[in-house]
Symmetry: D2
Subunit: 292 residues, 4 copies
C-alpha cells in the first residue's frame, strides 16, 4: 500500500514501536539494544522469539527516545543491511488507516466502529465499502463514508479495481473483511499481501468453505469457533492470527449457532485487528508470530 | 454386551435413572410421569429434548420409587410398545463395568483410575488391556488386572477375539480407548456399537488421522483441542460426546503441544466417561444428546 | 410492574412457555403434564429442578397448544392452589418491555440495542433513561426515546419517582442497569423486586463496591470478571444470574483492565437479559435457578 | 534455602536461564545483552517488563553459551552492582528440589507426581511430608520417601522445626502445599519467603478462609475457582501466581463443587509450580510478574 506522511511530534521524546525479523544468529538483541541506547532510548516493552523450525528471529520493542524518525531510520537501515533484517517503525498508538469491507451482516462492522470510537481500538476507519447497501445507515451514524461496490460475476474485476483505487486514494494501510461475502481474486490478494484480515466463521481448519455452521451442526460438534487470518490466494488457508470458541449443546439449531457464532466472530476479529494495529503480528511463512 | 445381575436393594425405596427415546408426539411426558406416579415415584431430576430435525424425542429422568425393578420393567415394556420407545433403567450411581484399552501413554489411564478411586467416577474398571506392557505397574498399583494383548498385522484378528472374550467373560458394559493406538475392525465396532468411547487428540473434524499435533503446529492454530466420541467403523467420524480446547501461541513446539494436549485429552475423556456412566448420553443418529 | 395486554394470536396453535415453582412433593410433573395434555399440548422443551436444600421444585416447559390463554390460565390457577404453586405463562419469544438505565459508559447500552435490532434478543427497549446526556445520540440512532433524569443527593427521591412513573406509564416489565452509576433506594428495590438486573464490573463477591478494577489490579489477580445479578437492597449482594471472566497478566494497567472488562460486562449482561427475557431465570431465595 | 551444588556440564555449550530485577532506567537491556554477547551467548527467548507503578524492571532470558558458570557469575555480579540488580542463573530444565506437604486429599499430590514422572514437570520431589498417613502408599508407588509430621496445637512448633530440618537436610528449594490443611507460622513464612507455593480452593479474594465451596454454594456463584499463591504471614493474601475457574449451575451441590473444584485446583497448582520451576515467576511487591 502506501507510505504515509507521519504525524509530526512536537514533544521532545516520542514513544516508538519497532518490529523486526531476520535470520537468527548471535548478537541481534545486543545490536538492537545498542542502537536504541545510542539514541537515548529507554525500552518500555520488548519481546523476542527465535523459531527453531525456520531459524528466523522476531522482535518487537517499545522504546521512548527523543531521536528523530530520520535518525532512527538511518540507523535501522544500516543495521538491517548487516543482519538481512526486515523492520517497521511507528509511533505507539497511531491509528492505522483502515478500510472495512462488508456485505449484509452488521455485527463485525458495528463492533469495530464502536471500539474505534469508544474503546481506543487504534484504527481510523477511513471508509466502509459494501457490495450491498444494508449497512449504509450504521456507517453514517459513526460519521464514516460508505462506498457501494456491487459485485457480479461480470463486474468483479471492475469492482476490485474500484476497491484498489479506494485503497490508494485514501492511503489505506489495512483492509478488514468484516463478514464480506465475496472471494478476493488471487491478483488482489498478492497486491495487498499481509494487509487484508478476514474473519472466518468456523474453527479452521474445520468446516472450510460455505455454510460452516450448517456443517458444524450436522457433525454434532460441542464447540463452535471463529478464526481471523490474513487473506491469501488459498481460500481459508491464510496465516491464522486468532481463534476462539464457544460451547454449544444438542439443543442448538443451526440458527442458534449462527447467532452464538456472531459473538465469537466479532471478539476474534477485533482482537486480531487490535494486535495487528499495535504491530504485534508478524508473518512467519504461513504462520504468525503474535507478541501479545 | 451383557445384561448384568443387578444389585439387590434392601432399602424400601431406590433411586432410579430412566433414559428413553422414541418418535416425538404429544403425551409422552404425561405418560411417563403417569407411569412413575403410579409406582409411587418422586422425580428428582428430569430433562427432555425433541429434535426438530429427526422428530425424535429424548428423555432422562431420575426418580425415587419403592417399586421393584420387575414392576417398573413390566410397566415400561408396555409403555414402550405404545410409543415405539427404546429405554434403559438403572440404579443411580451404580458403577459401570469398564475395560480400559491402552498402549504406552499413561495420562488417560492414570486419570480414570484416580477418579474411580478418589473422586467418585461411577465406573468399575474390571481390567486394563494393553498392546504394550508399559502400564502394567500403574494398573497394579490400583489393584486391577492387566492383560497383554499384543497386536501385529498378522495377529489382529486373534487379538480382537481375545478382547471380545474378555468383554464377555468380565460382563463389560463399556470399553474406553484411553489413547489406545490401534484401529478397531469394522466388525468389532459393529458388535460393540454405542459401547466404545475413544479420545482423539484433536479438535475434530480438524486434523483427523495420525499425528494431529504435528498437523496443528504446521497450520499455526491458536487453540488445540481434544474430542471424545463413540467409536464406529468410520475412523474419527463417530458421534461426538465432548470436546475442549487449550490456548497455544507461536512459541509452542510440537512437543509442547503434545504435553499441553494431554491435559485436554484426559479432561475431555473423563467427562465423556462420567456422562456416559451416568446415562446422560443418548445416540441421535451420528450425533449425541448429552443431558448434563 | 404491570400485567400487559397480551398479543392476540390468530393461528390455531401457539407456542407457550410456562415456568413454575412450588414446595417439592411427588406428582407435580405428572399433574402439569396432564394439564397440558388435556389442552392438546405437545411439550417441545422441559426442565425441572428440585432443590434438596430448600425443598422447592422448579419447572420450565415450552409447549405447543391450541388452547386459549383463558383456558390455560383457569386450569393453572386450579393446579396452583393444589400445589401452592407460583407460575407465569407467556408466548415464546414475546419481547419483554425493557427500560435501560445508563450513565456515561456506552458499551452495555450499545450492545443491548444492537442485539435487540439485529440478533433477536427478545426485549423491546421502550426507553432509555440516563442521569447524564452522553448516550442520547446513540439512543436516537436506534430510534428510542431518551429521558434525562439527573440525580443529586437532593433530587434523588424525585428522580426515583420520575423513574417509577416511567415504568408505569410505559408498562415496563424489566429495568436493566447498564453501568448506571447510581444506587437505587431500598424502597425502589422492594417495589421492583425481581425486575431489575444490574451488571457489576467484578467477579462478585470479590471487589464489591467502588473501583473494582483498581482493587483487582492492586491485588494482582490473574482473571478479571463481571457479574450480572438481580438488584436488592443489599448492594452487590443480589441473586447472581451470570458471571464470566477474562485472563489478564502483569503487564495490564488499570486502564487495560477497564477496557478488557467492558467486553466481559456486555457479554455477561446480555446473557442474563436474554435468559430472563426467555423466562429461564427463577428466584430461589438469594440464589437463582437458570434453565439454560 | 540452600545453594546447591550445580550439575556439571560436559558439553561445550549450555542452555542458561537468567532472571533479574532492578530499578528501571535506560540501558539495562543493552548492558545485559552486551554481557551475554561477550560470553558468546545466543539468546533463544527473552521477555522484559517495566512496571510503571513501582518503577522496577524485570527480565528473563534464555541463552546458549559456552562460558562457565563462574565466568557468567562474575560478570553478573559486576553488572548487578552497577544496576542494583537481583538475579538468578540456572540451567534450563534443571529439576527444582521440591518438598510436597499434604494432609488427606490426594488429587494435587497425585497430579504433581504423575507430571514429574511422565510429563516433564521440571521438579524433583525429594520427599512428601504429611500430617496424616493417608497418602503414604501413593507416595511409595512413585518411589518417594514419606515423612509423617503430625500437628496438634501443642506440637506445632516441633512439627515446623522438623519440617525446616527436612528442608535443610534435603537441600529443598521449593515447598508445595498440596492441599496441606495446616497454617504455617509467621516465622516459617518469613524463613521460607518466596519458596512456598499454596493452592487455595477459591477464586481469591472471594471466599477466603475455611470451607470456600460452602461459601460459594451459599452465594450462588456461577463459576468456582482456585488460586495458587506464594505463602506469606497474611493468610490467603500472598502474591497470586495463577488462577482459573470452572462453570457451575444451580443443580450443583456442595459435594459437586468440591469434586469439580479438585480439577481446577490441580490444574492451577501444576501450572504455578511449572512456571516457578522454569524461573518464570518473579515477585513484584505483593504481586507477581509471570513470564509465560
Amino acid at each position: 500500500m502506501t507510505t504515509l506522511p507521519l504525524p509530526e511530534l512536537s514533544d521532545a521524546s516520542s514513544h516508538w514501536v519497532l518490529t523486526l525479523s531476520c535470520p537468527d544468529r548471535p548478537g541481534i538483541v545486543h545490536a538492537v539494544a545498542g542502537l536504541l541506547a545510542e539514541h537515548g532510548g529507554n525500552i518500555t516493552e520488548s519481546q523476542q522469539f527465535g523459531d527453531p523450525d525456520t531459524d528466523l528471529f522476531f522482535m518487537r520493542v517499545q522504546v521512548r527516545s527523543s531521536a528523530s524518525r530520520e535518525e532512527l531510520t538511518d540507523a535501522l537501515d544500516a543495521l538491517a543491511s548487516t543482519f538481512s533484517m526486515t523492520w517497521t517503525l511507528d509511533v505507539v498508538g497511531r491509528p492505522v488507516r483502515t478500510l472495512v469491507m462488508v456485505s449484509k451482516a452488521a455485527h463485525c462492522l458495528n463492533d469495530l466502529l464502536f471500539r474505534e470510537r469508544t474503546e481506543g481500538l487504534p484504527i481510523e476507519v477511513v471508509a466502509v465499502a459494501g457490495n450491498h447497501r444494508d449497512l449504509e445507515a450504521l456507517t453514517a451514524f459513526y460519521g464514516k463514508d460508505f462506498h457501494h461496490l456491487p459485485v457480479t460475476r461480470e463486474t468483479k474485476a471492475e469492482a476490485e479495481a474500484a476497491l484498489l483505487a479506494l485503497v490508494r486514494e485514501l492511503d489505506v494501510e489495512l483492509v478488514v473483511l468484516a463478514r464480506y461475502m465475496q472471494v478476493l481474486s488471487d491478483d488482489l490478494c498478492r497486491t495487498l499481501h499481509g494487509q487484508v484480515i478476514n474473519i472466518h466463521h468456523s474453527f479452521l481448519p474445520s468446516f472450510k468453505g460455505a455454510k460452516p455452521y450448517h456443517q458444524a451442526h450436522d457433525r454434532g460438534v460441542k464447540l463452535i469457533g471463529a478464526t481471523s487470518h490474513f487473506v491469501t490466494g488459498d481460500l481459508d488457508e491464510g496465516p491464522i492470527i486468532e481463534q476462539d470458541v464457544e460451547r454449544v449443546d444438542h439443543t442448538r439449531t443451526v440458527e442458534d449457532l449462527v447467532a452464538l457464532g456472531q459473538d465469537v466472530e466479532r471478539r476474534v476479529l477485533s482482537r486480531a485487528v487490535r494486535w495487528h494495529a499495535e504491530h504485534r503480528v508478524v508473518l512467519n511463512g504461513h504462520r504468525t508470530v503474535v507478541f501479545r
